[in-house]
Amino acid sequence: MFTTYDLFDDMLTLRNMVERFFDETATTRRRVELPYINIYEKDDNIIIRAIAPGVASSDVNLQLTDNTLTIEMHRKEDYADRPYLRKEREFGSYKKSIKLPYFVDPDKVEASINNGILTITLTKHESVKPRKITIK
């Protein structure tokens, strides 16, 4: 208000903006959509584990189409109508599709939420298992 305008101030601000843009992109920022998942494969099973703290089992929607599994979940806010000293947790709706390496049996899908971790167990379908062919 009581200072004189300095052109270099504006130029420095612009330079900082450009620098920050390059600092924050690419390598430093992880572009992974929520929920975070890990996939384990053992024998004829695929185990998918997703982080879902505070998510009730009724708020999770799983859909299997061909060999694509879609996980949809909603995490309800548990905010109180009070002044907050700190707010770091995240809430919202998340959706993620996973392409499975092989066709799985839709009747043998098991899913459970335990301690805030969603575990989905999928089994390879009989039709895609290796078969021995006898020679007549």
Partner: protein, 126 residues
């Protein structure tokens, strides 16, 4: 989502050390402070809350299976033990601290001492 568990240091990942700082929400009511923190993968038996010299420390230990990378083919997250410390004022009634764990969300309730609770001041009429 909580998922965003900040990684403290990669160095101790292989050891059984603490390396995740769980995200926390803290709010205040007239009678207490409520602290909520996301610690996915931790069961009730593996949470340790200690209060020492005005310092509240929360430790969460994970099961071996949660941290192991056996048969892992695709990874987006790494879990390891949780640790976070909070400096608490003298206003807290230490004996009354309670905690509950539900679906990986830990809620710690810190009640205020009687003298720290808000008081209504009566206006006397002359």
């Amino acid at each position: 989502m909580a998922t965003q568990v900040t990684k403290h240091s990669d160095r101790n990942l292989e050891k059984k050390d603490y390396c995740l700082i769980p995200p926390v929400d803290i709010y205040e009511t007239d009678n207490e402070f409520v602290l909520k923190t996301d610690m996915p993968g931790v069961s009730k038996e593996n949470v340790e809350i200690t209060f020492n010299n005005n310092e509240l420390e929360i430790n969460g230990t994970l099961h071996e299976a949660d941290t192991a990378g056996e048969n892992l083919t695709y990874r987006e997250f790494t879990l390891c033990n949780y640790n976070r410390k909070f400096l608490i004022s003298d206003k807290i009634n230490v004996e009354g601290i309670t905690a509950a764990l539900e679906n990986g969300v830990l809620t710690v309730t810190l009640p205020k001492r009687e003298e720290a609770k808000p008081k209504k001041i009566e206006i006397k009429s002359e």
